[in-house]
Amino acid sequence: MSAVVNAQAVVKRFGRVAAVDRVSVAIRPAETVVLWGPNGAGKTTLLRCLLGVIPFDGAIEVCGHDVRRDGKGARQVIGYVPQEIRLPGHQTVRETVVFIARLRRASPRVALDGLAAWDLARCAGQRVQALSGGMKQRLALALALIGDPPVLLLDEPTSSLDLAARRELLERLGRWQADGKTLIICSHHAAEARRLADRVVVLERGRVAQDAAPEALGAYLDGDGGSTGREG
């Protein structure tokens, strides 16, 4: 089966530092890949390269769209949840949802109806800045699903959630996997990686240190990789 996301020799430098250094990874449709690594390993930067929001060297294709030449086409099939939710605070939830839906050529009505699934319907008239951190996270997830994109990029999606919200999100992620969505998730939680992933790509100082089944993460952590980020 051909790759839905195909990154070849991707390099992203900030000055003289290579945040992503010759990373190649191919992800099949409906596969869940966890990008695992300690802080500063290059996970977030790689996600931003896949999204085409920062310039990079190398080649990336998402659903057949060359990210550098047709970033717009690529982003049409990607839903993105950033690590830190930064949305225009003065807009209401409704305005934000309608704006994103129109940009994604999706139905604003359907997108607004979708707020109920995230328990956000009652907040539609509230300004985004008035929402709690957890509600903002829910809004970011709701926005990422507008237009039903087949590929979801999630950057540390559980990092700011309490235990109950984390459990709920993990259940939703399981449902999206069952629905056939391709998930690329940044995480530094080993337990989460093992639970969710079909494959774990370990990044270390911008390079792929290991690309294997989740069961292999334990062996990696027991070896030299254990010094970079051992966790549950």
């Binding site: 717009k72 950033p82 930064r86 129109r102």
Partner: protein, 276 residues
């Protein structure tokens, strides 16, 4: 370029700007100053009452040359830089839009907001003048209003150029104010000083004027209102003889270039820089 995306981003930018307190204050201040100039326009010669369109046009020329470039530069400079600083630019660029859609949408939204503020200021004065007297000089007044909008649009584009390369809003704001001083305050003296020191010929002096959007605006206003630039001396006479009936179109074209060229430069910089 996606016209729908450009329109959506422009609409959002326009709405956000009108909701912001600083822009409302700026627009109100411009309207108050315009009204004040029309009300006090005859006070300097010992008369009271609202001045006519002709005198108000002359008074407003100097006001708009100071204020409108500053408004445009600040609006443009704060736009992308502030969004980049707050992280909201990443959320926008993560959508199916191009850098060109975002830049053009931002410019269009800011340009529309500035045009609304300028038009509002001119309209308030016009109502006061029309109530006090006739409509004599209205054509010149409208010409000034239209060219003022063009002046503002050029400076919004210059501000966006600054913003496209800035990671934070404070340095972008500082650079915008510095550029404003160069264009508006130093520009006049610089041209005069350069002309004296280098003993420039009238032709060189004219082309030097084309290198400053505020000077292009001033020349266009004078040409549109008076029909010639001879009051500017040798350079004005040269312009009239060299360009003849093409003088005003040339000046309008130069103002359009002062909108398009900074936008092009901003696009190249924005595309290279991305969301960070």
């Amino acid at each position: 370029m996606d016209a729908t995306a450009v329109f959506l981003i422009a609409h959002k930018e326009f709405r956000d700007l009108w909701r912001s307190r600083w822009f409302a204050v700026m627009a109100a201040a411009f309207a108050a100053l315009s009204l004040g100039l029309s009300a006090l326009g005859t006070a300097v010669v010992g008369l009271t009452g609202v001045a006519g369109f002709a005198r108000t046009t002359a008074s407003l020329l100097n006001l708009v040359m100071l204020i409108v470039p500053l408004m445009g530069l600040i609006m443009g400079a704060m736009s992308l830089a502030a969004e980049r600083e707050h992280g909201t630019l990443l959320a926008l660029l993560a959508q199916p839009v191009t850098a060109g859609d975002v830049l053009l949408g931002k410019w269009a939204g800011l340009a529309a907001a500035l045009a609304a503020a300028v038009t509002g200021g001119f309209a308030v004065s016009a109502l006061a003048i029309a109530r006090a007297g006739g409509a004599a000089g209205l054509r010149d007044y409208l010409a000034l209003a239209g060219l003022t909008v063009g002046l503002g649009w050029a400076h919004v584009a210059l501000g966006l150029w600054i913003s496209a390369g800035s990671r934070r809003s404070a340095p972008a704001l500082g650079l915008a104010i510095f550029l404003w001083m160069v264009i508006v305050l130093v520009g006049d003296l610089g041209v005069m000083g350069t002309a004296v020191v280098l003993q420039l010929k009238p032709a060189q002096l004219l082309w030097l004027g084309f290198g400053n959007p505020a000077q292009v605006f001033r020349l266009a206003v004078l040409q549109a209102i008076h029909g010639d630039l001879e009051m500017l001396g040798a350079a004005g006479a040269y312009a009239a003889s060299r360009l003849g009936p093409w003088l005003l179109p040339s000046l309008l074209g130069a103002l359009a270039v002062w909108i398009a060229a900074p936008l092009g430069a901003a696009f190249a910089l924005f595309r290279r820089r991305g969301a960070l």
